[in-house]
């Protein structure tokens, strides 16, 4: 047995032991607040067992292991419906960025440990009503104020902001230069005076995203994580981390095995649907697509482990996976015919086709819309021309509205 197989076996056994307390059955019927409380306990248990910060440096409380161990654990963890998603953003982007760019090492270490234990949650304040796909078009501003800064403006689509203790934020510090050059990256205390969080109810009925308003929120200059005017580079570094954090070949929807089970259990024209060529074709093509993505991710992890830089093909993950999840979910509902109407807004989108389907459009927009991702692939990888860009080289405050 390879070391990695041994690691997998041990992790799987530990995860199995957590199922009675934290698995999907144990979580049924809980309110979000009760669920989050359980989730914090689960995160703490992971930390105590050595499964938090698997591939993070030991000096920050991580395990100092490789990316392969991390994906191995994640793959096993995904099988049980544990409430790990509350910490997905926090531990996915803001905390790694804090480790890389935070200036006060003692403060950073304390935050990282608390986040790893599930005691604190971080959010990522990027999108704005006027700047979603156009990240550099954001308008929330920070103006110099004594030794620090004063933030005013509005962010939107901020996941878990209502439960967050801190956030990382990109704001405009200079409107007189072209838009990419006038941005600065800070961290901000979400409990500070002037911060207002308002949850947004999404199509599936849940409210994990929020509008966040900043009214004269004062921060000191040691909150700054980039040079003044150098925030865009750190924002891009954050998004690059996200590219590999946010990988799930199922597109954050149900595992293909669930579709196979459904097709075996459903009758179509008097025969099991699994015998129907249309159904078989979809299973086969989805499998081929998902196995391709898994191989891309595995290769990327192996490259990082070997100290190499992964290829750009990782940018395909969300684009390909979420689109196909949307279609497969439609087919799964179709397949159930008049039995397909039921909807439970508490059902997990990883286990329930209807929930997966109704939330899929969110997935095709969040973290870069399909169109933005296609543009990125076309322009950055294939060298095709940029779209017409009237904002290019123009000072932000002179861009035609």
């Amino acid at each position: 047995m390879s070391d990695l197989d041994a690691y997998r076996t041990k992790a799987a056994a530990w995860l199995e032991s957590m199922v009675p307390t934290y698995g999907k059955e144990a979580r049924k019927g809980l309110s979000v607040e009760e669920d989050l409380a359980i989730a914090r306990q689960y995160q703490r248990a992971k930390f105590d067992a050595g499964y938090a910060g698997i591939n993070w440096p030991t000096e920050y409380g991580g395990q100092g292991l490789g990316h392969l161990e991390k994906v191995t654990f994640d793959g096993e963890e995904m099988k049980h419906g544990f409430p790990s998603f509350y910490f997905g953003i926090s531990l996915g982007m803001p905390i790694p960025v804090l480790m890389q760019f935070g200036s006060d090492k003692e403060f950073v270490k304390e935050r990282v440990l608390k986040a790893l234990k599930g005691e604190e949650i971080w959010c990522q304040l990027f999108s704005e009503p006027s700047g979603g796909s156009d990240l550099a078009g954001l308008r929330t501003k920070a103006e110099a104020d004594g030794n620090g800064w004063r933030i005013n403006g509005q962010k939107i689509w901020t996941s878990w902001a209502q439960y967050s203790d801190y956030g990382v934020i990109v704001v405009r510090t200079d409107p007189n230069v072209p838009k990419h050059k006038g941005l600065t990256y800070f961290w901000v205390d979400m409990k500070a005076p002037g911060v207002t969080v308002r949850p947004i109810k999404l199509v599936g009925g849940d409210s994990h995203v929020n509008e966040v308003f900043f009214d004269d929120v004062k921060i000191s200059d040691d909150h700054r994580m980039s040079p003044v005017g150098g925030g865009f580079a750190v924002a891009i570094a954050t998004l690059m981390i996200e590219r590999y954090v946010a990988t799930d070949s199922a597109g954050f929807g149900p595992h293909l095995d669930l579709f196979v089970d459904l097709a075996k259990d459903t009758e179509l024209n008097g025969k099991p649907a699994i015998e129907d060529g249309r159904i078989r074709q979809q299973i086969a093509r989805n499998y081929a697509m998902r196995s391709g993505l898994q191989s891309i991710t595995a290769r990327a992890m192996a490259m990082m482990q070997a100290g190499m830089v992964p290829g750009p093909e990782g940018s395909l993950n969300k684009l390909v996976a979420v689109r196909s999840r949307q279609k497969l979910s439609e087919l799964a509902i179709d397949l159930q015919g008049s039995g397909g109407f039921a909807y439970d807004d508490h059902a997990s989108q990883k286990e329930n086709w209807t929930s997966s389907w109704i939330n899929a459009p969110t997935g095709r927009i969040a973290g870069g819309s399909d169109e933005t991702l296609l543009n990125t692939i076309a322009e950055k990888i294939l060298g095709l021309p940029q779209d017409h860009r009237p904002d290019k080289g123009v000072p932000f405050n002179q861009i035609p509205a």
């Binding site: 086969a284 391709g292 684009l319 095709l384």
Partner: protein, 364 residues
């Protein structure tokens, strides 16, 4: 086996690409379409000279003892340059069938010639729409074959063929000498693949495997060939994507290069997705040779590579507009090859069923 190519493997890819780009051009390939029975002998001579025919065969029989990963890298380049003679897969498949299931005498008799490229092998499993028929149309009686194998790739030039036959009453995998076999040339849309119906009439054949094991063996050989073909398809798809890209950044319309239009740039970006998924599945499948999930991985590679090559050749021609469909540009060489490779080694429908059978643990 690692899923990252090591330095030696990368060198194989670079060198085979260099050699093929220097020796193959479309002006040699286009005339092959207009006659029946000619293949690109420049490619085959190169393959022999470079040792590609010996690459994945055992050292004891004149091979180089490398594997699917290395041969796949060469197939990828052959697909890019469109040169690949059908023997790259057929001779390899025949040799692997003999290596895996033959006696020592059979290996000694056939493998050195197949490794050097002096013997050309073919694989004849299909019967019309069935890639692996339940009841093969060729029958074996007293070590002699009778009946017809349809659409055998490389069939016009092969010296020997590994044939899936009816025993009778049970399937058998045999190796047949094609010296006196009737070869009915198929005038094809991709003539350089040398498709032929092979008419067996009392043709001497040596048995490799008998009974239920013969079907498993045939599927395994088909899977080995499918992985090589999938690499070739991915290479072709990659070439089409790059040709489309290069055209889109030079051709101008409405005052700008056409690659600036999202209808064009997104189409090419989508092709990138097809190509990279196919490549990833190919690398994975090649690395799973000898593992329990090899056929599953081969099927996934084959499905995604077929989708990639068809999509890329279709869209590349579309992006070129009228020029795309001319003999002058020769893009149709890829259009043709995309379809011929889609049928060789079992079509998409076949591999989809194989894959779903494996995933569900039962056949439809």
């Amino acid at each position: 086996m690692s899923i990252l190519y090591d330095e030696g493997q990368q060198a194989i890819a670079t060198e085979s690409r260099r050699v093929l780009e220097a020796r193959v051009n479309k002006d040699e390939l286009l005339p092959l379409l207009e006659v029946t029975g000619k293949y690109h002998d420049g490619f085959w001579n190169t393959a022999k000279e470079q040792g590609w025919t010996a690459l994945a065969l055992p050292e004891a029989y004149g091979g180089l003892d490398l594997g699917l990963v290395e041969l796949g890298l060469i197939a990828h380049q052959a697909g890019r340059s469109l040169s690949g003679a059908p023997f790259l897969t057929g001779s390899f498949g025949a040799a692997k069938a003999i290596e895996l299931y033959g006696s020592d005498e059979q290996k000694a008799k056939y493998l050195p010639g197949l490794a050097s490229g002096e013997t050309i092998g073919a694989v004849a499993f299909a019967s019309g729409s069935n890639a692996l028929p339940t009841l093969p149309s060729v029958t074996l009686t007293d070590n002699r074959l009778d009946g017809t194998s349809t659409g055998v790739a490389g069939g016009l030039a092969a010296d020997i063929a590994v044939v899936y036959a009816n025993g009778p009453g049970m399937p058998v995998l045999v190796v047949a000498d094609l010296t006196n076999v009737a070869r009915n040339a198929i005038d094809s849309f991709d003539n350089s693949r040398l498709y032929a119906d092979l008419g067996f009439a009392g043709t001497p054949a040596e048995t490799l495997v008998v009974g239920g094991a013969a079907r498993d063996a045939a599927l395994h050989v088909l899977a080995l060939q499918a992985v090589i073909t999938a690499h070739e398809q991915t290479g072709g798809a990659e070439a089409m994507m790059e040709i489309a890209r290069d055209y889109a950044v030079t051709r101008r319309a409405f005052g700008q290069v056409i690659g600036a239009f999202q209808s064009i740039k997104h189409r090419i970006a989508e092709l990138y997705g097809f190509v990279e998924l196919a490549r990833a599945n190919c690398i994975h499948a090649a690395s799973r040779e000898g593992q329990a999930d090899f056929v599953t991985a081969a099927a996934a590679a084959r499905i995604s590579a077929t989708e990639a090559y068809d999509s890329a050749s279709r869209d590349c021609v579309q992006i070129h507009g009228g020029m795309g469909v001319t003999w002058e540009l020769g893009l149709h060489l890829h259009t043709r090859r995309a379809r011929s490779l889609a049928i060789e080694q079992g079509n998409l429908l076949f591999w989809e069923d194989v894959l779903v059978d494996r995933l569900t643990g039962e056949a439809a």
